[in-house]
């Protein structure tokens, strides 16, 4: 029970609020919405409680679903991302993951960038696959995933730079 927990609760609420109030109203070309709320899962502490992360991402997704009338697609996508996160860490950061010294909330390096892009792509692909729910939209699905992922990654990086703790 310390500041990490508080930070995460605050992040959970703030990111959801920002997503629903601001980013849900930002649409490009009629179908692309940036979804920076999944930054909560990306920025969750590396050595944090894994079951806690699973439950929190499920709640995060369910709340998004309530607000966008979409059944359980956000919940499923968030849950998948949360479950695959350790493997993504291993893929993007290699050995240093074992020492648990990663700080994502910092200057952008190639490793951090690849981690964020992979996470966003996995989340968006699951999301749009479940949203279309049929294979006939497959090309459309890929286009949606890629375009939305670009905008989400950009908004995620901007938010990371905005909330980055300043130390000098």
């Amino acid at each position: 029970m310390n500041s990490t927990l508080l930070t995460n609760i605050l992040r959970f609420v703030l990111l959801l609020a920002v997503q629903i109030l601001i980013f849900n109203n930002m649409t490009f070309l009629g179908f692309i919405i940036p979804l920076p709320y999944l930054l909560f899962i990306i920025l969750f502490p590396v050595n944090g409680n894994k079951s806690g992360l699973l439950v929190a991402s499920f709640l995060l997704g369910i709340i998004m679903d309530v607000f966008s009338n979409s059944g359980g697609i956000h919940a499923t996508a968030c849950l998948t991302l949360a479950y695959l996160r350790p493997s993504l860490f291993k893929f993007a950061f290699g050995v240093s993951y074992e020492y648990q010294t990663i700080k994502l909330n910092d200057v952008l390096t190639p490793e951090r960038f690849s981690f964020i892009s992979l996470a966003v792509l996995i989340h968006h692909f699951t999301l749009f696959l479940l949203e279309a729910f049929q294979i006939s939209f497959f090309l459309d699905l890929l286009i949606r995933t890629l375009l939305s992922a670009v905008f989400t990654i950009i908004s995620c990086i901007i938010i990371i730079y905005l909330i980055k703790p300043n130390k000098k």
Partner: protein
């Protein structure tokens, strides 16, 4: 026994993941298979309240377009009142409505989605105002959708921009019927499928609601024909229809309470039972 516990402890994360995944997939599949069984919807107290607050602020940004639409509608209604000698036009107007004025509820759109395949609209009136599922929603320009779920103060509407929605429509000139669907591509266009080849269709013809469905009264505007295709498999026409409504910018809407519908449904049910 010990081993079972060991297994559960060792794989607790995986088991938790699978459990939660099952729940979320169940919700997803339920929402896709039959729209009535939707458990999670934005017509609840929490999200309805939040959307209403947001709308209170954002509606100021749309006051100008809303005013213009109202002025246009006013002008149209005035022209009908002043030209009462032209009895033909008056009759036509009454026919378009086809419902008692007391059966129309004015409501406000507090949340509108148009960027996914299954789009829903949230309105700020619910069962307290007498709104029930399956009522038709229109505005001055044309149809909007069909009421899906209601709570005491809010209701959700299946927008015509929803790949699951299917509405009976016809060509105004020739009375040929088809069903109105959306292919999920553009917010300005919907498709009318299964129009018989006998029908004479031309670009620019008006499409209106047909009389076969009890949800909408007959002859409510939808849009104009934009493109004509012939379906290779079925040899029916498929028409691209340009909507009169801008579905990305909705303000006030009218909900049609049709008393006839229950009577008709009961009659059809009785006929089937016998």
């Amino acid at each position: 026994m010990q081993q079972i516990f060991n297994f559960i402890f060792k794989n607790s994360n995986r088991l938790l993941f699978l459990l939660l995944l099952c729940v979320s997939l169940l919700l997803t599949i339920q929402s896709h298979s039959f729209h009535k069984s939707r458990i999670i919807s934005s017509a609840n107290f929490l999200s309805g309240g939040v959307y209403e607050r947001i709308n209170n602020i954002s509606e100021y940004l749309n006051l100008k377009t809303e005013n213009e639409a109202l002025a246009l509608e006013n002008a149209r209604l005035k022209s009908i009142v002043f030209n009462t000698k032209d009895t033909l036009a008056l009759q036509k107007f009454e026919k378009i409505k086809g419902v008692d004025p007391k059966d129309i509820v004015v409501s406000k759109v507090i949340h509108n989605s148009y960027n996914v395949h299954e789009n829903f609209i949230t309105l700020n009136s619910g069962s307290l105002q007498g709104i029930k599922p399956d009522m038709g929603v229109i505005n001055s320009l044309g149809i909007i959708g069909i009421v899906d779920k209601t709570s005491p103060k809010y209701s959700t509407v299946v927008s015509i921009l929803n790949v699951k929605s299917q509405i009976n429509a016809k060509i105004k000139k020739s009375n040929h019927f088809g069903s109105l669907i959306w292919n999920g591509k553009s917010t300005g266009f919907v498709q009318l499928v299964d129009v018989p080849r006998l029908a004479s269709v031309r670009k620019g013809d008006t499409i209106v609601t047909g009389g076969q469905s009890v949800i909408f009264p007959e002859n409510i505007n939808i849009g104009t024909i934009h493109k004509v295709y012939i379906d290779n498999k079925t040899n029916y026409y498929t028409l691209d229809i340009k909507l009169f409504n801008d579905m990305t910018n909705l303000g006030h809407v009218y909900i049609i309470k049709s008393e006839d519908r229950e009577e008709l449904n009961n009659l059809e049910k009785r006929t089937k039972d016998e």
